[in-house]
């Protein structure tokens, strides 16, 4: 299962965090810090997986991608496929990119609601739920419309 999904920028400021397992707010902050420290010290071109029992607990893997000023990272347990999660992060970023037309850090800061909507359509309860970026985009658009016009919009198919 995916334990949490964290987006943190190059200076360690979290931009989007979602925890799928019980975690106190203090532990959440600690994890964000740990993720940033683990990633910041890694050179480019290395593999995208980090195991660090001290920072994240035993059997937990950090899987990440680095885009411009942002790290997109997921902490997962042994049952997840590493390469699969890597593709999933790609789907997430791709979707954000079409959502915001060339997504940048500020989009996430000022439109976190939309970013979370995208994330919730891709990952739910720590598991993958949708992997097609077009399908996600359609849902997010519909949700945005529903927000604007109130309840009673077209039902999803």
């Amino acid at each position: 299962m995916i334990k949490c999904f964290i987006v943190v920028n190059n200076t360690g400021v979290p931009r989007l965090t979602k925890f799928y397992e019980h975690c106190t707010p203090e532990r959440q902050q600690e994890l964000v810090r740990n993720v940033f420290e683990a990633l910041h010290s890694r050179a480019d071109g290395l593999c995208n997986f980090v195991e660090d029992a001290k920072r994240f607990g035993k059997g937990v893997k950090l899987i990440y991608r680095h885009f411009a000023t942002l790290y997109f990272a997921a902490l997962v347990d042994e049952n997840e496929s590493e390469l699969g999660i890597l593709d999933l992060i790609h789907v997430f970023v791709e979707t954000l990119d079409s959502c915001f037309e060339n997504v940048c850090e500020l989009d996430l800061v000022f439109n976190s609601g939309k970013a979370y909507a995208v994330l919730d359509e891709i990952i739910m309860a720590g598991a993958v739920i949708e992997t097609s970026s077009q399908a996600v985009l359609r849902r997010v658009d519909e949700i945005a419309r529903a927000e604007r016009f109130g309840v009673g919009i077209a039902h999803a198919k």
Binding site: L46, F49, S81, D87, M124, A146
Partner: protein, 856 residues
């Protein structure tokens, strides 16, 4: 009127210092509190959004929790959405506030709007508490058959949460699995596969066979996926829906494990997945690798035919040949999985794996090191350790600790000879002595001692002396000699220095000719140097170097063949160190100089230690220690020093020793060696060992008439000083508490438990079973229950039958880990059948905190 969200965010971003930011957030939080108190409904939406932003930055937001609930109860979709989002971000399952939202969620689950239902399901999946899960289970189960695929897939994952949190209401979800796996929609299939996996994990015995009926369905889906029967929208790099393929392959793995029929059903499909995915062209994409990876794992786990296994193993080659770091990492994981099934196949890739240990990437190095560790056996041990040693010279600091630990474990298990073991660990100590663990050094010394072979002793003396001398005076001398090396050298030279020739007397260790043959005189010169400079040694053991050195000197000067030439010199050193500022050295010097006045007692006291028995730490972490009875006073001392218990405490490097001749200085050294300093004696609170007040008597008795009162005091001081030395110990050296408890004793059947506490707070319990009845006991089983907050990990017993009249022949170890510090207590159930009568017996017993010492 509060400011807008964007303004607030801009304000925070404009802060130049953390203090400025804190002040701004505190101001805003105060404004929010006021707004909440005044029931500012118009801006609630915006205020909660601000809360979420503050929460992400790590500021407290508990005061706004009720606002989330109010938003959820609103009619407007926009409010609801922010409400549910904040619910899953700001709250968690442990908060009681959550109970209040159950009703709103329940009504939202029945909403006509699918997005509202989706929000509610999403929140339940994210933060649902066990009570909530139970309350909403039937609603969610109904939604699994919803018209909308959007709702179905979300209901699936909400069900996953329910299965996890409330295992008692899972039965109803099982019935939905077949229809979910027959769904046409991709998202529902993925979610359905996860639900099936979760159900399998929840009740493996009951549910797996029922879900196994779906194997043909799953195979059909995979088949049609490969035939591109599904929407291309989900393809990645031309691979049809890799996410779904991976999820289904994982489900097949769980269903095929230990079941020949299901394995048979899926084997054709797995073969075609492998060949199809590989067939997608020379430059395989990452998505293809993730499918192959999952497929090979499945083949390795199920009861696959050998042909299929060969196919899987051949694909490994393809993985390893890849230049991409991610693929290489994954292939190492895959090899690690295969090791358990087919070690020979993995051995073929050994050289590649060893190369990976030297990779620039830490993640890959760690993986590879673990794999090398799994691959080592007697035949390749020397080449592999050589490779790792070479690498140790260039490894970066943060990796050295891991490498050193694994290297030491490897040689302790697979070294072709003791000499090889000594050489390897010596090199490790020279290279990375500050990283070596104390118990690794202990294991080495135990192995040397256990060899009982003079040529090994001579070799060890030579190797350690040379290494240590090089560190002090060699061409590439070190600023600080590793403490582990200094301690080990002193110990070996002190114990076995008498196998060396006396040689020409040397005033100064510096005068030794580099590369020359070590002599007893040179050894004494070096040890003298360590006595004087022991403080400068590095690492955790550095503190003890001078303690070891002083004892080694006394030992050397008491050996028959060396005494003539060395005694005067050593006594001169002792006279000097009587004024040492190191308490331990000072105390020992005083004691030893006293002992030097009594030749008979001294010779006995400084005799060689009896050969230690080596217990392999990998196979037998803790064994019941039996104390061999020794004659006369020796036994008293052995008992007093609790030689056996010390060993039990040390618990990792050295198993049972025979403390028969462990007298005086010898036993002291033993304590030192095994307990990492006399501090252990201070920690002996176990009822099994002699009370702390006892020391003086048996020792005085041992010294007999020849011992004048000052000596006895001196020896008492020896023990006394151990107590005073204890507080100086570094934390890692903290003595561990231990206790021996008779946990069960009835009708001649007994269970004795040896509790010992490790430095990390966990308690290891070594249970040994005794059978005083005339009949063998069969199917003997020990069950243990512990209070909440303590986790229990039990290893299998060494045997399930206990021979008649035996005691300690069968043992079982378990480990207790406390989440909170609370007194230990165990409830025990023992069941067995009496072999002669066939009667089955079951008995209960209890170990209370009162039976255990306070230190545990």
């Amino acid at each position: 009127m509060s400011q807008r969200l964007a303004e607030f965010i801009r304000g925070v971003r404009a802060c130049r210092t953390a203090a400025e930011e804190r002040a701004l957030v505190a101001r805003e939080a105060a404004a929010l509190r006021t707004a909440f108190k005044e029931q500012d409904n118009a801006h609630r939406h915006r205020n909660v959004a601000k809360l979420m932003f503050m929460h992400m930055l790590g500021y407290p937001t508990h005061f706004g929790q009720m606002e989330c609930l109010k938003l959820i109860a609103e009619e407007s979709f926009a409010d609801k959405r922010v409400g549910y989002l904040s619910l899953s971000l700001l709250l968690d399952e442990r908060q009681e506030v959550l109970m209040l939202v159950t009703n709103s969620m329940k009504s939202d689950l029945t909403s006509k709007n699918h997005f509202v239902v989706g929000l509610s399901l999403c929140a339940l999946g994210g933060v649902g508490s066990p009570e909530m899960c139970r309350d909403l289970a039937s609603e969610v189960c109904r939604l699994l058959n919803s018209q909308s695929s959007y709702v179905r897939k979300k209901a699936c994952l909400a069900s996953v949460r329910i299965v996890k949190k409330a295992p008692d209401v899972t039965e109803q979800f099982l019935g939905a699995v077949p229809s979910l796996l027959n769904d046409r929609h991709h998202g529902v299939l993925i979610a359905g596969a996860q639900l099936a996996l979760e159900l399998c994990a929840c009740e493996p015995k009951e549910y797996v066979p029922r879900i196994r009926k779906e194997v043909p369905t799953i195979c059909r889906i995979l088949n049609s996926l490969m035939g591109t029967g599904f929407a291309s929208e989900h393809d990645v790099d031309g691979i049809p829906d890799p996410f779904l393929q991976v999820a289904l392959l994982r489900l097949l793995r769980v269903l095929g494990e230990d079941d020949a029929e299901a394995s048979e059903q899926m084997s054709d499909l797995l073969a075609s997945v492998v060949s199809n995915t590989q067939g997608t062209g020379g430059g395989m994409k990452q998505a293809a690798y993730s499918i192959l990876y999952e497929c090979v794992r499945t083949i390795m786990s199920i009861k696959a035919a050998s042909g299929l296994r060969v196919l899987a193993i051949n694909t490994l080659g393809k993985f390893l040949g890849n230049r991409d770091n991610n693929i290489r990492y994954v292939s190492l994981s895959l090899l690690a999985q295969c090791v358990r099934v087919d070690i020979q196949a993995v051995q073929r890739h050994r050289s590649v794996v060893v190369e990976c240990v030297k990779d620039a990437d830490m993640s890959i190095r760690r993986r590879a090191l673990e794999l090398v560790y799994a691959l080592v056996n007697e035949t390749n041990a020397s080449t592999l350790t050589k490779e790792l040693l070479d690498y140790l010279h260039v490894a970066d600091v943060e990796f050295k600790a891991d490498l050193v630990e694994k290297l030491c474990q490897l040689v302790s298990m697979y070294a072709p000879s003791v000499a090889f073991y000594v050489d390897t660990v010596t090199e490790v100590m020279v290279e990375a002595g500050e990283h070596i663990k104390e118990n690794a050094v202990r294991s080495l010394l135990a192995a040397v001692s256990a060899s009982g072979d003079d040529s090994v002793y001579r070799h060890s003396c030579q190797a350690l002396f040379t290494a240590c001398w090089e560190c002090y005076f060699g061409e590439n001398r070190k600023t600080r000699t590793p403490g582990s090396l200094a301690c080990a050298t002193c110990w070996v030279l002190g114990e076995y220095g008498d196998v060396l020739d006396i040689g020409v007397a040397q005033a100064n260790a510096k005068d030794f000719a580099a590369g020359g043959q070590v002599t007893a005189s040179a050894a004494v010169a070096l040890i003298e140097h360590i006595v004087e400079n022991g403080r400068e040694c590095s690492g955790a053991l550095g503190f003890f170097a001078s303690h070891y050195a002083i004892t080694a000197l006394a030992k050397l000067a008491s050996r028959a063949n060396l005494e003539g030439s060395l005694r005067g010199r050593v006594e001169a050193v002792l006279a000097k160190t009587k004024g040492s500022s190191i308490l331990e050295v000072q105390a020992r010097s005083v004691e030893f100089s006293e002992l030097f006045r009594f030749n008979v007692a001294r010779k006995a006291a400084f005799e060689r230690m009896p050969a230690m028995e080596v217990a392999n730490m990998a196979t037998a972490p803790l064994e019941e220690v039996s104390v061999a009875s020794a004659d006369g006073g020796a036994a008293a001392v052995a008992d007093l020093l609790g030689g056996a218990d010390l060993l039990g405490d040390a618990g990792n490097g050295v198993g049972p020793a025979a403390p028969a001749a462990a007298i005086g200085g010898g036993a002291d050294l033993l304590g030192d060696l095994l307990g990492g300093g006399g501090g252990d004696i201070g920690g002996m609170t176990a009822p099994a060992s002699a009370p702390a007040a006892a020391p003086v008597d048996p020792l005085a008795a041992l010294m007999g008439d020849s011992a004048p009162p000052p000596t006895a005091t001196g020896l008492g001081g020896l023990l006394g000083s151990e107590f005073s030395a204890a507080p100086q110990m570094p934390v890692a050296m903290q003595p561990a508490a231990s206790a021996m408890v008779k946990a069960f004793d009835k009708d001649g059947v007994s269970v004795t438990m040896n509790f010992s506490k490790a430095a990390d707070g966990s308690v290891t319990v070594a249970a040994s079973f005794g059978n005083a009845t005339p009949s063998d006991l069969n199917s003997f089983a020990l069950q243990v229950a512990v209070p909440k907050g303590i986790t229990l990990e039990m290893r299998p017993a060494s045997s399930s039958s206990i021979p008649a009249g035996s005691s300690g022949a069968v043992t079982q170890t378990m480990r207790l880990q406390r989440e909170v510090m609370r007194p230990l207590a165990l409830r025990i159930r023992v069941s067995y059948t009496v072999a002669s009568t066939g009667a089955a017996v079951q008995e209960m017993s209890q170990v209370d905190a009162s039976m255990l010492p306070a230190g545990l």
